[in-house]
Structures are given as C-alpha cells and as structure tokens.
Amino acid sequence: MFQFLFKYPSPVFTKGRFELLGTWPVWLLLALIAVAAGGLALLVRWRLRNAAPNLRHWRAWAIWGAQSALVALILLLLWQPAMTVAELSSQQNIIAVVVDDSRSMAIADSSGKTREAAALEALEGGVLAGLKKRFQTRVYRFGGGLAQIDNPQGIAPTEPATHIGDSLKKLATDTADLPVGAVLLLSDGAENTAGLGGTGIGLDALQALRNRRLPVHTIGFGKVEPAHDVEVQDVSVEPRATANARVATTISLTEHGYAGQKATLTVRNGDTLIAQREITLAPEGRIQTESLFFPVGAAGAKSLTFGLEPLPGEENLNNNAVTRPILVSDAKRKILYVEGEPRWQYKFIRRAEEDDPTVQLVSMLRTSENKVYRQGISDPNELAEGFPVRPEELFGFAGIIIGSVQADYFTPLEQELLREYVDQRGGGILFLGGDASLSDGGWAGSSLSNLLPTFLPAGNHNFHRDPATVELTPDGVDSPITRLLDDPVKNAERWRKLTYLADYEDPGAPKPGATVLVEMHAEGRRMPFLITQRYGHGRTAIVASGGTWRWQMSEALGDPSHDLFWQQLLRWLVAESPGQVTASMPARLLMDDGQVQISAEVRNTQFQPSADAQVSAHIVGPGGVNTMVDLTPSADTPGLYQADWTAERPGAYLAEVTANSATDVADPLGSDVLTFQREDGVAENFHTAQNRRLLEQLAEETGGRYWKSTDLKNLPRDISYSEAGISVRSTKELWDMPVVFLLLLGLPLVEWLLRRKWGVI
C-alpha cells in the first residue's frame, strides 16, 4: 500500500535525503507560500463576512487551510521535489548472513519448531534466494564466537554462549577489505551480557559497525515472554564476609504466569540449605527485588547458590538459581575501645565480642584518675603508654569505640590523628552515649565535631539515667546491623518489645547524609538512638546510650538480642576498613571468558600509598592451576599494582596477593585474598526469551531494521538501501507520486464539500 501511494519503498524516505531540484531559491518558495496563505486569509475574511456572516471562525479557518494547502502543494511541485538515496550496486556487494547457533536457539517456541529451525526455514523460504538474486552472500554462524560456513544447513544450536556484540565486531574487522553492504542477523537476541536495563551490545562493537556504515537487519525468533517461568535476574551479595556472620543478599527476579503465587527463596552451600524465605511473586514481568539474610558459616572460599525452588509447570528450570563466590574470612580485626569510667556498657560489649571470633576488642579503661586497665591486648607493651600517638600504631586498628570519654582527654595531636584515621585510613569510629560523652563530654566544641553524624545539642546536661525504649526506622528495617530476626516484620516487632535502656543521651539532629537506623523514646520525646554516616574513606556512628546492657540482663536467659546487635554493629564498623593491601577485580564471576585483571592497592604502615613494593599474586584453581603472577605498578596511580591473567578452565579460583617492601623482601606489607569463578555455558540458561528490545535497538543504531520472522517478503529489496559496500546515489523525483495527484484532486473536493455542507457556496 505504501509503495502504491508513494511510488517508492519506505527505505527511500527513511534513509534518503529530501531535495528540491528546481533552480529557484528555496526562500522564494517559502515567501510565495506565505504570501499566498496571507492573501487567502484576507480573501476568506472579506468574502465570507459578506456571504456568510454567521459562519463560525473555525469553519472559516478550515476552508482557508484547504485552499492554502492546495496552493502550497502546487508551488512545491514547481520546485521539483525529490529523494536522494544510496543503493547497493547489483551483484557487486556482499550480504553477511549471520545465524545464531547458541543453545537457546534450540527452544521450541516458534510455532512448534525450534528457533533454529524457524531461522533456517526463513532463509530457505525465500530470503536467501532473494538476496542471491541481487548480491553475493556469505553465511556465518555465531555463539561464543563467529565462524563462516558454506551454507546454513550444517548449523545446529549447540554453542554454550551468545555474544552478539563480539561476533559483529569480529565480522566488521574480518571483512574490512570486502564490500559488505549489510548484515542480516537471525537470532533470539539472548545476549549473555545483557543485564538489567542494558542492551548488552558493547560500544566498541557499535562503533566498528558505524565506522563502516554497516546496517544490521535483525530477524527475531522465539517468544518475547515465556508463558510460565520464574527467572533469577541478578544476585547482589558482598564477595567477602566474616566467619559466622549473617550476610544480606538482594535477589532480583521476574516471573511470567505465576503472579500472586507463593515461591521460596533459598541459599545453598552445595546441597546444604542454609537459608530460605517464602515470598509472594509480583505481577507479570515486573522486576521483583527481595532481600534475604543467611548465616555464612565457617571460614573458607565458598560457592553459594541463590535461587528459587521450582514451581509446577515451569518451562525453564535452569534459570532458577545462580552461584556466587564468597570468601569467608576468620581473620581477626582489631578494635580499640577507649572507656573513661568503669560502667556496665563496657563489660557487656566486651562479653558480646568474646563470642565473635573475628573481632579482637582491645580496650583501655580509666579505672581511676591515673590508672588505665587494659584488656584484650596482644602483648604487655600494647597501649602501655596510653592512647596511640603514632599513625602506625593507631592505624593498625580496624575500628575505634569511644565511650564515656571527654573530648579533652585527647590531645590536639591525638584528635587530628583520629580525624585522619577516619578520613584517610578509612577506619570506623563509634561514639557511645554516657556521662562524659558527646555534648556532655565537650565534643560539640572539639575539632572532631565534624566527625560525628549528628549536630550535638547545646549544653552539657543531655545525658539522663532514665529509661528509654527503642524502635526501628524504615532504614533500620533494611539494615543488617539491626537484624535480630530474619523476618523484617517480626524483627521490627522484636525491637519494639526490647526492654528499656538504662539511660540515654540526646545526640541532637542527624546531619545531612547520616542515616538513623533506630530511634528511642524517652520522657515523651523521640530521638535518634543509632546513627551512622560515611566520612571520608571511613565511617562513624553514634549509639546514644550507655544502657543497652539491660537487653542482656533483663531479657530471657539465652536471648541473643544484645550480643547479636553489638556483634553486627562492630562488624559493620570494621568491615570496610582496608588493610595495607587491598586486592580487587572488576567482576568475581567470569561468564564464558577467563580474562581477568587483578588490582591491588598497597599502603605502608602509615597508610600512605606504597609505590615501590613488590607485589605478586599466588593463584590456585581447578585442574591443578598453581601459578605466581607479578603485579606491575600503575603509571597513573601511586600504590596501585595490576596484572592481567586468563583463567583457562571453568571453576573456582583463589588468588592471594602479597606485597613486600622493595628494600627488604622479608618485610611483608600485607596480603589479601580474592576468590573468583569462571562459568561456561551457564549464562545461556538465562534471558532465554527473545530480546526484541536488543534486536530493535541494534538495528536502529546501525541504520538497519528489525524484521518479524513472519513478514520477510520485502527484506531482499529493502536491504539494498545502504551506504556501506559499493553503492550509488540515485535521485527519485516525487512529483508523479500517486499521493500527489490524490491531494491535488482531494483538497478542492474537500473544500467544495465543506462549503456545500456549511451553506457558503
């Protein structure tokens, strides 16, 4: 129909450029149109006022519009309009036919046939023959990689991966010296790297296609949405955890055909179920995000499986679970606890931490004016001189707790050291409420007031030995620090029912950027109880009470609330405090590709970047992989060392990165451990529905078109409009389009009919 009205196929208009072939200037055309329209307006206004004074305004303007359009059309035709479009020269160009042979193409959801069979049938059913009439063709198959084949008959959907972008980039590179006019891609678009919200086609691949102006025409196969399926879209979990910690994970999933039904989220270590939670599935196709807490267990490198129990009638059970490598460490993190007076809070925090094997609580308690009682020290000399005054001593602690201690107990030098401890070293400081804490301890006027997550109130009588009850805020409901029970509702209820605090201190209002996790109620007032914030590279927090010990003494024997809260809070305090060596890599899960870049930030004992260290990684992996890799210093960032390495085999790998002083190899600066995992063929189980969005976007961004597999009749003809390969520009005059004649006849006719209807003839 389009071509009947407009004489030419639609690509002429979508890809061509509009031109006026007449020699008269364009401004004259516009001026004449404007003059004609203005004259007609005056004429209509003058004539119709006398002929039909009661004619409504909009009807007069309609008549004017029809007349003006007719005049404008006639004037436009006098300027000889035309389209200039590039067309591939016949038999001089190659059309690259690229067929997806990944495993997902074996899914039989194309009218009872597999996607692969439907693709081959489309090719054999006329597309390939039509192309061969005008072009040479080259047939390729692709999955994890690209390979040219003689004909499509030998294609079988067995490849364990789908890498569309990489394959197209390789195609553009391999055929750089060939006159390829266009690419025809037959695929389900199930690109493995397509994540949430992304196209999955890399910019470098798109750029390679654009550089050659290669249009990619895509034909999609398979259902866009499965009828009955639940799929895990993503799992977010920290790659490191401390032994016996409760770790939070966020699982994103989608469902089709099970809206409103119950499903069970699970976390497994091998075959052992370590956590589960029942959820209600969200409406069709919507991304649903659920959190789940699980006990990470003993130390070691683990590969945990996060997923959903299979539902009856699911079409694809292989996309119900994903694995993530997690390194569970039992390395002790040292926390320095400075307490200004003997008090119960001190005792019960120490008792809680005695049950945490990952934390060494080193404390100094002022028992009398001139005596300090030390506990948890590693050797008799530790803290013998009092609070550390040198960075290499203080920065060895991963966290600091400051109890009921007045600000001026710390010298200006020590205060500056504390600020640098958080800001530069990246440590965490927790301030406790108390008789000499916060505002009552003079902290508001100290140089460290900006470290605190609240604006402290005025005065120094804000500590009260009166009861206060606590309640979670919405932020607290989601926080792993305050998670006493797995179920969020029951957890919030547990906090509400906790026995009252022995005392409280008004911490003031939270600063912008600070997060209040728990509030307290006392004397009819509501105040923050637990406030956290990030500061520089580190973090600070306030627990605005010295009386949480009542949660231990007044709750039932064996109730874990007190100890669990303090263990979780102190783990948060130190969890992100870096060591002298911090190893990292962009992704811990390598899908079908073993290339990995290992990076390590190395600092000296004062936590300044160490640019002259010797850094190496000892990597062990499956099949007896046991190798040493040297990391080289970055030219741009002091203290940063990097190495590229390839994990050849699928499986779990462990890399221990060690840094030594360049001047003394026997002097270790520190070490860090990474775990990562290569999985081959697993990604192909996910996102198996036709990714029409990806195929459409790929076609749009390269100048091609997305074709439905059921409507390919015009493909061989339309694919010829391309600027790639050997093409010629042709000019298509528009004056003789049937639609022009229809308008020339139709516009006066419409005007006449309107006049007749409105009685103004």
Partner: protein, 267 residues
C-alpha cells in the same frame, strides 16, 4: 441501668485509663523521683542481697532472726557506706552513695549486675529464687560472698550454691588470677578478720584457720561468684575508722573489694 449510670461508669473508666496512661508515661520504673541520697541515679549500686535464712524467721526478709538480726544484714549499712566512700575516692566509678538491698523474689535484681552477700552459710532459696539467681549469674551478673567461717559454714554455703549452680566446680584463686590485678595488684593476701580480732587477737573464727579466696566460673572461664571464706571483709570496711582495728586489714579489704568490683564491671 439508667443512662446516667452508664455515662458515670464510662467517665470513671476514662479517668482511670487516662490516669494509668499518665502513670506509665511518667513512671520512674523503680528509680524513684525525689532528690534524697537514696534516689540518686548512678551507674553503680552497691547491692546487698537479702535472702531467706534457714536460721531466721523463714519466709521473711526481716532484720530480726535467730540472734536478733537477719543474717544478710550483717554490718549493714555502715560497711556498705564506708566502702562506697573509699570507692568514690579511689576509682572513677559513678556509684550511688548509699547501698541498695536486692532480693530474689522479683526481677529487680537484674538491674544490679553486681551483688554482695554475707553470712551465706545461712542462706536458703526457694526453687524460683535459685533459678533467678542462676539466670542472673549466667547472664552476666556477679556475686561476692563474705563472712562465713570454717567447715560447717562452708557446707551450708555449698548447700545453697548447689541449688543455684549444681554442676559448677569451686576453685581456689591464685595470686596471678586477673581478679587480683584489675585496680590493685593484691599478691600477698592475708586473712582479713572481723571486728572480733580487736578483743580476741585471733584472725580466724570457728575452724577457719586459713583464708580461702575461691571462685565459681562460667563456661568461658569468667568468675561469676567470688568467695571470701574464713574472712570478714565487711567488718574490715565497717571498722576501718576504729583506731583499734588494724589499718593493714582494712586497707587489704578495700583493695580486694575494689578489685572485685572492677573485675565484675569488666568481665
């Protein structure tokens, strides 16, 4: 029932409800609300345990007993208050100037994680009281016992202790134990006699010739019951201002008591 009576009852119920609500909002949870010395709010309360005595009028905590006074109140309150004076002078503990009497017949004891009991050869517990004291100790409470002497007193003390902690062994404390080094290093321990030393010259009572510092620990090795057997630290505190009572004993008693408190507040 007439409508006026219904309205009257409704008003009365509403007034009671509001009154109860107001009481709950303003309730002091047992801390008291006047400014007397006994109502000073503090971090540490010297808590003396009152218990049933099998030699006193059973079923009551009254002060009159077998010899005219209840066993738990020996030296009370002078010993307590003189000790608190020393504690204020020698430590940074924020303690109330007056003692607090605690009992085992209600959960108020859980507000006082350090308790002191004397003449424990006389104590006895109901099953509920024994359970409460056991939970108190296992949750983190600390008990110091004092002023009982000789073999028979020890057996009587242990009869009660076995009701509370049936399977926990009692061990002799050594000089190197942490409890003697929290505030003062108490290495050369002596037998601290009661006031009877002034007129008898004997440091022992009954057949308790040797001082016994003993303890019961929890599963993690922390002392939860500190036992001063064949000694009377309470008298030493009480008679510290008596010129006839030797300063050496009084000083040692204060050091030991303060060490025990600091230990109880840190372990």
């Amino acid at each position: 029932m007439k409508l006026s009576r219904v309205a009257l009852l409704a008003v009365a119920a509403a007034v009671c409800g509001v009154g109860l609500w107001a009481l709950q909002r303003r309730g002091d949870y047992g801390f008291g609300d006047n400014d007397s010395e006994s109502n000073v709010k503090a971090e540490f309360y010297w808590s003396r345990m009152a218990y049933h005595s099998n030699m006193a009028s059973y079923g009551a905590y009254g002060r009159r007993g077998f010899w005219g006074f209840a066993a738990w109140s020996r030296d009370y309150p002078k010993a307590d208050r003189q000790f608190l004076i020393a504690m204020h002078r020698l430590t940074r503990i924020d303690g109330r100037p007056t003692e607090q009497v605690v009992t085992l017949d209600n959960d108020d004891i859980f507000n006082y994680p350090w308790i002191y009991a004397v003449q424990v050869e006389d104590w006895s517990f109901t099953p509920a009281e024994a359970k409460r004291l056991r939970e108190y100790l296992l949750k983190g409470g600390f008990l110091m016992v004092d002023d009982f002497h000789g073999t028979e007193d020890w057996e009587n003390f242990m009869n009660g202790m076995r009701e509370v902690l049936p399977n926990r062994p009692v061990e002799d404390l050594q000089s190197g134990d942490e409890i003697f080094h929290t505030l003062y290093d108490v290495d050369n321990k002596m037998q601290i006699p009661g006031e009877q030393y002034v007129w008898t010259g004997r440091t022992y009572e009954k057949d308790g010739y040797q001082p016994k510092y003993r303890a019961i620990r929890d599963d993690k090795g922390r002392i939860i019951v500190a036992i001063c057997h064949n000694m009377h630290l309470g008298d030493a505190w009480e008679w510290a201002d008596d010129p006839n009572y030797p300063e050496t004993f009084a000083s040692m008693a204060f050091r030991v008591g303060l060490d025990f408190i600091i230990y109880g507040m840190t372990h």
